[in-house]
């Protein structure tokens, strides 16, 4: 059945090219279009599967259904005006996108956000990491057939979104940060909201663990499924929890700290096998670690201004800069070229989902159809970011 598949996870090339020894005239193979409208492709991802029975012989991702030309739009907006657009790339973690973009532009301009702004940014970004992981958890569990976690996780997400709404007036596409710092100061009760969240949240994570971590069905479905070792991860440029699940303790918050992350004590959860189960465990642990960071940040919010002094008409000097942050899905980078005008000359987004999605093909080859949805879920992609 499956034994004709080549175990080379790095194989590129169009799907129709036969692998060595692979027969071209096999009538038992079937082409199945999974997506762009499918319950488990998390948006408009289309995966063309070549099936032998239920066994995946080869797969190819077809993307671009949500392409809006964000980079082109960036070249036609001022730096300030482009800020809300980055929220709409990875719309599940809009705050992280905003953080990456604002810091990149600040670096280009040569300003640094004031300490108070940095702490608030860290708190919101970590809340956002939790909310992003929580959406991932719920939908991933739903893909694997567990209906209930998605509702529990959306209950917790609601708490986070309420904090976002109170802080910046929007729940999903927050536009929370401004270049140079923040638009709004904290609202009354922000600290108590966060403290309450940090107190209740770990117990909620325990609930997910009760439903999934030790559950034998969950483990059968995830342990050993979609393995990706560290070498392959590095070769493909895969970052984020997928890389960490493969055993590489690499996190930009530790490796190249930004926004004052060096001040917080937290650990990088690492997996061993790089399979779907380890990715799940890594993300659950990351949620707990984020909670730790938030708790530390709440206790040390400094006073002071929230916005650095930047000119109203904002023209960064000629130059180019690449800045990346650890978004919930991996390394989110912004490469901005300035020609000294009001608008970026070139604005390139290095999307983690896009790069991570490349690993899908190698992971699903030889797996079953049911594994495909589990693996897609475990990479944690958002098509808004893949297609931009």
């Amino acid at each position: 059945m499956s034994h004709r598949t080549t175990p080379d996870p790095l194989r590129g090339g169009p799907m129709t090219a036969p692998a060595p020894g692979e027969s071209h005239l096999d009538s038992s193979e079937m082409i199945l279009n999974m997506g762009p409208q499918h319950p488990s492709t998390h948006g408009v991802l289309r995966v063309v599967l070549k099936l032998d029975g239920e066994r995946v012989v080869d797969a190819e991702c077809v993307i671009g259904y949500l392409h809006r030309g964000v980079e082109k739009i960036g070249e036609h907006r001022t730096y300030m005006q482009f800020n809300p657009y980055v929220d709409r790339m990875d719309y599940v973690s809009a705050v992280s996108n905003g953080l990456g973009y604002c810091e990149a532009v600040e670096k280009l301009q040569g300003v640094v956000a004031p300490p108070r702004a940095q702490v608030v940014r860290v708190m919101l970004a970590e809340l956002n990491r939790i909310s992003s992981h929580i959406v991932w958890l719920g939908t991933h569990a739903l893909d694997i057939g567990a209906m209930t976690p998605v509702f529990y996780s959306f209950r917790e997400r609601e708490e986070i979104l309420k904090i976002f709404e109170k802080y910046c007036g929007a729940r999903l596409t927050t536009h929370a940060f401004r270049i140079g710092g923040l638009q709004w100061d904290l609202y009354d009760g922000f600290e108590s909201d966060l403290r309450r969240f940090c107190q209740t949240f770990p117990a909620r994570v325990d609930e997910y663990e009760t439903l999934l971590t030790e559950n034998r069905i969950w483990r059968e479905r995830t342990v050993g499924v979609g393995r990706l070792d560290a070498t392959t991860c590095k070769a493909l440029g895969v970052t984020g929890p997928v890389l960490r699940a493969a055993g590489v303790a690499w996190d930009l918050r530790k490796a190249q700290p930004y926004s004052g992350y060096e001040k917080y004590a937290f650990e990088i959860p690492v997996g061993e096998n790089g399979d779907t189960y380890d990715r799940y465990r890594v993300r659950l642990q990351e949620m707990r670690q984020s909670c730790r960071i938030i708790a530390q940040a709440v206790d040390g919010i400094p006073d002071g201004p929230i916005l650095a002094r930047i000119p109203k008409v904002f023209k960064p000097p000629v130059g180019e800069v690449y800045h990346s942050i650890e978004a919930p899905k991996g390394e989110l980078g912004f490469y901005i070229v300035s020609d000294g005008s009001l608008q970026p000359y070139r604005l390139r987004v290095r999307p983690p989902s896009f790069v991570n999605l490349q690993a899908l093909r190698g992971m699903v080859r030889g797996a079953l159809v049911a594994d495909v949805v589990a693996i897609i879920g475990s990479i944690d992609i958002v098509l808004g970011e893949v297609d931009r």
Partner: protein, 442 residues
């Protein structure tokens, strides 16, 4: 399920209004089987000794079939509502709330919607088979009920090969599923049908072996006979064949394609599996068949292992216990009525809630009336057999929902592995063990 029972009871209540003289007169006037039935309703003690069932009488069989058809349909509607509510509450949601008080009329609204939807047949589909598939599913699920004894006499027939008949007819359902998957001329349904085929074939064996283990103890294939054997043993077969029951309890979930074995229609993998191309009324037939199938396997499990229509602790006949148990049906309905009335009472007073509040109050009063009716002595004794049967089946239905709320889904190969490498060997070993023990028993 309790609604199904309730419905049945209402119909029977007509005969019970004027017991005594009228009943005696009618008994003389009616043909023998009907007289048996009437006698059974008015005096169950007599019925227990009379020959089981009313086999062979055309009119009565028809009445029973209609009763069962109506009862199961109502049961499906109730099950639909209960599933959505229970599932929702387990998932910290409310579930349907808009149509009727607490969404009580939602299943009816949905049924209407499905009836009114456009009837779509995909291009390139095999029309005849596409049309036939849901019919096969429903017919298979419903006809197997003809051999299920809801009470000592409350059955369409008492086939001497009852168990075989039920298993054989119920397993025809997979044919409908394969028809549906194949005739849709579409990839996902085809995969779903293949999964269903492999799954059902594997789990049929386990079911068969588990049932055979029971038959060792009963010595009869008649469903009625199996319950009577349990009455004679003074013990539910659950305690003699716990392993077989466990195997059946797992296999019946797989047999009905329910979570965690819902691979043929796994929505996150195969969109909707074998019925992906079905819509409207045809789709609703699949749903009807699925729910009827759930009730059917539960009914089989209840009959084979849980003493059928007998009340709990059938072997204990302490003073007053019989009377106490005979009040349980009424108490159940009164409890439900109390819950409904309390919910109606607690609803906010605002006028936009008025329709809901009044509706709930009416529903509660209805339940209250039913409960009071069941408390009347002749009704009490007449209905408790069916009540216990339905209650036991309802417990299984709740389990089905509970599984669905809790478990992830198995993968195709894992499902087959469990079937072939765990369940079937265990069932075989259990069968051999049981047979040996039975043979050694004096």
């Amino acid at each position: 399920m309790s609604m199904a029972g309730g419905w049945w009871l209402v119909r029977n209540a007509e005969c019970c209004r004027r017991p005594g003289v009228l009943a005696a007169g009618l008994t003389a006037a009616l043909p023998a089987p009907a007289a048996n039935l009437l006698a059974a309703v008015t005096s169950p003690q007599a019925a227990a000794t009379s020959p089981p069932g009313n086999t062979g009488h055309f009119l009565l069989a028809t009445v029973y079939i209609l009763l069962i058809f109506a009862g199961i349909s109502v049961g499906v509607i109730v099950m639909n509502w209960v599933e959505r509510k229970v599932l929702a509450h387990m998932q910290v949601r409310l579930g349907p709330m808009r149509v009727g008080p607490h969404g009580l009329l939602q299943p009816i609204a949905d049924a209407l919607k499905l009836l009114l939807k456009e009837d779509l047949v995909p291009q390139g589909a095999d029309h005849l088979v596409f049309w036939l598939a849901p019919v096969v599913v429903v017919v298979a699920a419903f006809s197997a009920f003809t051999a299920i004894p809801f009470g000592p006499t409350a059955a369409v027939s008492d086939l001497n090969i009852g168990v075989l008949f039920v298993l054989a007819v119920a397993s025809l359902g997979v044919l409908g599923i394969i028809f549906a998957g194949w005739s849709s001329n579409s990839h996902y349904p085809l995969l779903g049908a293949l999964r269903a085929g492999a799954q059902m074939v594997s789990y049929e064996i386990t079911i068969g072996l588990a049932v055979v283990a029971v038959l060792l103890h009963t010595g009869t294939l008649s469903m009625q006979g199996i319950v009577r054997a349990q009455i004679d043993h003074q013990q539910w077969l659950l305690f003699r064949e716990p392993v077989a029951f466990g195997l059946f309890a797992v296999a019946m979930v797989a047999e009905t394609n329910r979570s965690p074995f819902d691979l043929p229609e796994a929505e996150s993998e195969l969109v909707a599996g074998y019925h992906a191309e079905y819509s409207g009324f045809r789709w609703s037939l699949f749903m009807l068949g699925e729910y009827a199938g759930m009730m059917l396997v539960s009914a089989v499990a209840v009959t084979l292992w849980l003493g059928g229509w007998t009340r709990p602790f059938p072997n204990v006949h302490a003073a007053g216990l019989d009377a106490l148990f005979s009040f349980v049906p009424a108490a159940c309905f009164l409890l439900l009525a109390g819950m409904a009335l309390r919910a109606a009472w607690k609803m906010p007073g605002h006028r936009r809630w008025r329709v809901q509040r009044d509706g709930l109050a009416v529903f509660g009063s209805l339940l209250l009336g039913l409960g009071l009716l069941l408390a009347v002595p002749p009704m009490r004794t007449a209905c408790q057999n069916v009540f216990w049967f339905v209650l036991k089946v309802a417990v299984f239905q709740y389990l089905f929902i509970w599984y669905r709320a809790t478990f992830p889904r198995y993968r195709y190969d894992q499902l087959l592995r469990i079937g072939w490498r765990i369940l079937i060997p265990t069932a075989l070993a259990n069968l051999v063990l049981s047979a040996t023990l039975t043979a050694l028993r004096p």
